[in-house]
């Protein structure tokens, strides 16, 4: 299991919602380190708690609604014990951290990196500002992953 786990998620057939996938692909092409792994998912589900528990740092990557299109951010995450409606198959990163701690007694240091999307319609490819920002955010995530690796 890697020391640093990067998890991109979203729907790659819903335009900007696929930014997390695109960033994971960028990381795979541009970051070669046996201690860092990047994976993409449509959505976060409880079974990922075990993978989290085996990593020391996790960086979630998602698209965000609202805000200036193309604006991106990285912030540290805390575990959260409030989950969403029982209607949804999806859980959020903070709840996943909490699951990791409760089920396996461990939770990694966690970050959430997000990019504000503009177009969540059906299709592939990104709106211009998101497309421009993706490699920039991906590079910042790469630097963060390498920095965190040094601290371990």
């Amino acid at each position: 299991m890697p020391n640093v786990l990067i998890i991109g998620y979203g729907n790659p057939l819903r335009r900007d919602d696929g930014a997390g996938w695109e960033i994971v692909e960028w990381i795979e092409k541009n970051l070669y380190n046996d201690h860092i792994e990047a994976d993409a998912y449509h959505q976060l589900t409880p079974d990922l708690a075990e993978e989290l528990s085996r990593a020391r740092v996790v960086i979630f990557v998602d698209a965000e609604e609202g805000g200036e299109p193309g604006a991106s951010s990285i912030r540290e995450l805390e575990a959260e014990t409030i989950t969403s409606s029982a209607f949804t198959h999806h859980i959020n990163p903070s709840v996943l951290l909490s699951l990791s701690q409760s089920l396996y007694g461990k939770q990694p240091k966690a970050f959430l990196s997000a990019i504000c999307g503009e177009d969540f319609g059906l299709g592939e490819g990104f709106s211009p500002k998101v497309e421009e920002e993706i490699p920039l955010l991906a590079n910042r995530i790469k630097e963060l992953a390498l920095h965190e690796l040094l601290l371990l």
Binding site: L13, Y41, Q43, T81, A86, H89, S102, L103, L122
Partner: protein
Amino acid sequence: MGKQLVIDPVTRIEGHAKITIHLNDEGHVDDAMFHVTQFRGFEKFCEGRPFAEMPSLMARICGICPVSHLMASAKACDAILAVSIPETAANLRRVMNLAQIVQSHALSFFHLSSPDFLLGMDADPKDRNVIGLLNKFPEIAKDGVYLRKFGQEIIQSLGGKRIHPAWVVPGGVNEPLSVELRDHILDGIPDALTVIQKTLEWFKRSLDDYHEETRTFANFPSLFMALVNPANELAHYDGKLRFVDASGRIVADMKKASKYSDYIGEAVEPWTYLKFPYYKPTGYPEGIYRVGPLARLNVIESCGTPLANQEWAEFRALGRGVVLSSFHYHYARLIEILYALEKIQILLEDPDILSKRVRAFAGTNNLEGVGISEAPRGTLIHHYKVNEDGLMTHANLIIATGHNNLAMNRGVLQVAKHFVDGNKLKEGMLNRVEAVIRAFDPCLSCSTHSLGKMQMQIQLIDRDGIIVDQVQRD
């Protein structure tokens, strides 16, 4: 004055559906509807693409059941190639499809529905969720994660890279199974069987606590539709499509996938984007039928594996002929997990599973192909048309959640009439209205799910549009 009660879940995935309950002047439920408020446009999206790309493209539609779309799509492409794929390839596809059943059912049962069973239908929604489950029943929460992960690992170990899965291809699969991987999967089966048998035992014991829900959760006569194999056993990958009525009598056996439109019509209503498939010979809306785990256990004569056969016999004793209550979708899911684990073991213990002949090659030999498989939520149909160059000119997808649309709507009405007092909303009432939908485990995950506000809004509105009561869950 009549009122309208709206349960409007605004979440990342299912945020594009809502429930409205219409009240009469006395505050009693008059009508209820399950609306899907977002257009699914995947069919149009496919046009112009080479048909060979369809399986991997379709696998990206849904994060919950990508394998199901992969299977139906690959089978439609096999039909365009006009090939009969090697039996080993078909069995490897079966293993992957069954692993999908395990992981998806585990997510539905443990993550979404077991909080209702273990924490109570009337519990505060802040506690009635996976975290609440974890606090009070950590071992059960862990079992759910374990089964889901076991299914996922089989899929990922067979399918390889997660981002662009390309193992299932038109004509078969692109790589044979290794001895090491087969043995690795087989090693995990005994523990997974122990977990699901333990779960079945506690769930069966808890059924006595849910007589009222069993009686009222979409419990009505209807047709049931699912694939069966030539021995009339459970089939998730191929077989004939069977319709049975509420007494269990076989109404139709459809042997050729390409004939589906002789049996299934699709109606539309102006208040929802989700179509209403119906049994054509009976017409709309009388031709209501259900699909999914409950239907699959209702159309067969046995499961076809030893442990699941025993559980199935006990299950079928719940009804005269067939089991009509949709509350028992949950029970059926557990039996299907048991069956899937046993069947994976049987398939992998056959020495031919290691055969190197796993793919048939051909060009465009038919201009049309239909693929039918059983997804976790029910029958999935992919129908493609291509031109002489093999480029897609038409696609029609009938998804499991669509097949159940008529039944979900009738179920919402039945539960609302029984539990909802329109004069004042109470949590338990609303949860049961949601819970009947959850029993079907509808999946609308083709919609966007980016970061954003996740909330559940419930409003009581009169005919003038004035909100007279409101509940909101963040």
